[in-house]
Symmetry: C2
């Protein structure tokens, strides 16, 4: 990807913002005054229209219309309806995605289904650098398989070929590394995994809606991800799972609850899975929280993921360039090459924790990952070039001021 040079002054940033074709998108989100929000890779801000949507769900659908809203307000169909809309953002045609449960639970379903689809194989490939719940769920899914399974781990740099053979049933890879922000080559890795006869599950937690993904075009088998980061669905809003049409009829969801039944209201004694993607549902979904996903999808309505990606690359490019100019000795973990970079920039710094705390106090909210990683997310839907310029300045100010000498910035736990 050829990238125009990053703006060289704050004035140039302001000019770039004024001509940004996505500039009006920011108005669709509530970004508090005085806040530079660089943590949308952890919890996205609230879409402005979400307030009215929640109010309607609470006051009209629940409080006033009560039980009949399951039908009249379409509650029962939300997982599939929102799944189709979300699928459009990751290149999946309708009928392959449902919004439900949590990423961990959906990964368990996908792994179990994949292991069942490769009954003569006994290895699951996963990444040492995966967000840890992926590794834990691999353990849980392997222990629930109908045969002994083994886990093989690869580092972020691979090469995956060394681990692929005819024992591998499935590989789980993260599109973007949650810590370093490194982006994997989906086409290349999927091809290699498929060439070995294995299935692939992509974890899109850190990329859905902000980086192009071609579920259908690249013949992906399964994808899972959350909806509360770049998708802005709200704290803990239900996750998603996509399963390719060609696999659905044979893919078994171990969490065989009534919402995945072919006829949930027939109340049969035996489980008979839905013929399509609904078989990956299980139980009743949290309606208030799932309405957040709907409001979030509304806020991205009509927006091209490719345009978001272009702006995201320009924002991270600017941050890297500016930090490099101000603090040339700092170790930037995120690749400089745009095609290898997600929508965040990670910086290794042994005093990273107090620096992030000091920045938060000054209004620039990023986060910290042990042992020494400062993470800054650059969500193109609501961040401006001038914001990025200011954030780099603030980072430099905090480091030059040696804020870690101030005892206020002590350690506490953080959340992904």
């Amino acid at each position: 990807m050829t990238q125009p040079a990053a703006p060289a002054s704050r004035v140039a940033c302001v000019a770039l913002d004024a001509s940004d074709p996505l500039r009006s998108l920011r108005d669709r989100f509530i970004v508090p005054d005085g806040v530079l929000y660089l943590d949308g890779n952890s919890l996205g801000p609230m879409p402005r229209a979400a307030g009215a949507a929640f109010r309607r769900t609470i006051e009209e659908e629940w409080a006033r219309d009560l039980i009949k809203s399951w039908n009249s307000a379409g509650w029962f169909d939300l997982p599939e309806k929102l799944g189709d809309r979300l699928g459009a953002l990751i290149g999946a045609a309708p009928g392959q995605t449902v919004v439900c449960d949590t990423t961990s639970i959906n990964l368990y379903k996908a792994l179990h289904a994949a292991i069942g689809l490769r009954p003569d194989r006994d290895v699951v490939v996963a990444e040492t650098g995966a967000f840890p719940t992926d590794l834990y769920i691999v353990e849980g899914a392997m222990a629930s398989a109908d045969r002994p399974m083994q886990r093989r781990l690869i580092g972020r740099d691979g090469p995956i070929e060394a681990l692929l053979d005819d024992r591998v049933a499935v590989a789980v890879l993260s599109h973007v590394d949650y810590r370093s922000g490194r982006l994997l080559d989906v086409a290349d890795l999927t091809r290699k995994v498929h060439a070995a006869g294995a299935l692939i599950i992509w974890d899109l937690c850190h990329s859905a809606s902000v980086i192009e993904f071609a579920f259908d075009a690249q013949a992906i088998d399964f994808a899972v991800g959350c909806t509360y980061k770049y998708l802005n669905g709200g704290p803990g809003s239900p996750a998603f799972i996509s399963v390719a049409h060609r696999l659905q009829a044979q893919a078994r969801n171990p969490l065989s609850g009534w919402w995945g039944h072919a006829a949930p209201f027939a109340f049969d004694l035996d489980f008979r899975p839905d013929s399509g993607i609904r078989r990956f549902l299980c139980g009743t979904q949290p309606i208030l929280s799932i309405r957040g996903v709907e409001a979030a999808l509304d806020a991205l309505d009509g927006v091209d993921v490719a345009a978001l990606r272009r702006k995201s690359v320009a924002l991270t490019e600017l941050f890297i360039a500016r930090v490099g100019a101000l603090l040339p000795d700092l170790e930037i973990l995120t690749p400089r090459e745009a095609s290898l970079r997600g929508s965040q920039v990670a910086i290794a710094f042994d005093k990273g924790y107090p620096v992030v705390q000091a920045m938060i106090e000054r209004g620039a909210i990023g986060d910290f990952r042990a042992p020494d990683v400062m993470r800054f997310g650059f969500a193109p839907a609501y961040l401006r070039f001038a914001d990025v310029w200011d954030a780099a300045d603030m980072l430099a100010d905090c480091i030059r001021a040696e804020v870690w000498r101030d005892p206020r910035y002590s350690r506490r736990h953080a959340v992904t």
Copy 2:
């Protein structure tokens, strides 16, 4: 249980309401004007204070405070904190209950753990009359076990002894039958299951908070249930799971996600479960929906479940007596004996579907379960004796008017 005679006139009902020690509770809920809500056994009404609680979560915690609310608003601790409060309503001491996920998923966890705790046994006992998702999840959990398992089914009348032997690992029973409203004898059945060396899981979906349950006193092993029926947590609000202290260290949650890890923020490569009840968590919970559970628990604060149960028995007693007087030929499926009855009354009637529809149109909301069951739930927190009197009258009016001759009341699907 000796019960005073049901009131013999509407005037007597109004007098009873005026002296009802629980009468002020109704003000804590939004019951729309002109509605007789007899479907709180399916979706409870909104607690009046929930609106402000949701608004605070949406506008202050999410929109304004963003990521820091995970700590400052205590989001991360809600499953355990609300679990302890909910546990108090079912006789479980703190540290044994978490609010999370769905009933189906929690049942899967409990079954898997129980099967693991009885490694030399290969049978799961379940009820033919269970809400079907319980049966489906039994199938899924058996298929995910480390050995071939079998399901043995009992009818609601048992006797369970005929099915219990040294092959039974675990029995799953529903405290109240979702269709007939029949209540099981927890003490007796738990004793029998334990005497056979098996574990027991009680499904409390249709009883939690409205019928006394003695988790600790009766040495129950596992309980699961939803929070959106008599608990009034809102549509699809997260469910709960209780696991006895004595089993926790050995009980394995197959859904081994990061929220169940001993140190979720240490980001270890390997799963090491929390030493206590948190090991039954999996992934990030839907915060808006879980705040509904909190508001619901607030609405029941200081209320004695025994008092709710006494009023519930009196309400169902009145309905049965009045329906019996008005429509002596109708077949009431729910036991007349109070100790065998949950908080609902089920009536078999071949024209039940159009009758329920006609009653809804007249403002009395009950529901229908195929093939021919009319269900009326009597939630003591907000229903009055006069409401019950009026509902019986309305039922009699609809049947005498032969409303099924009106083509408006055609069939459509319904939700539990």
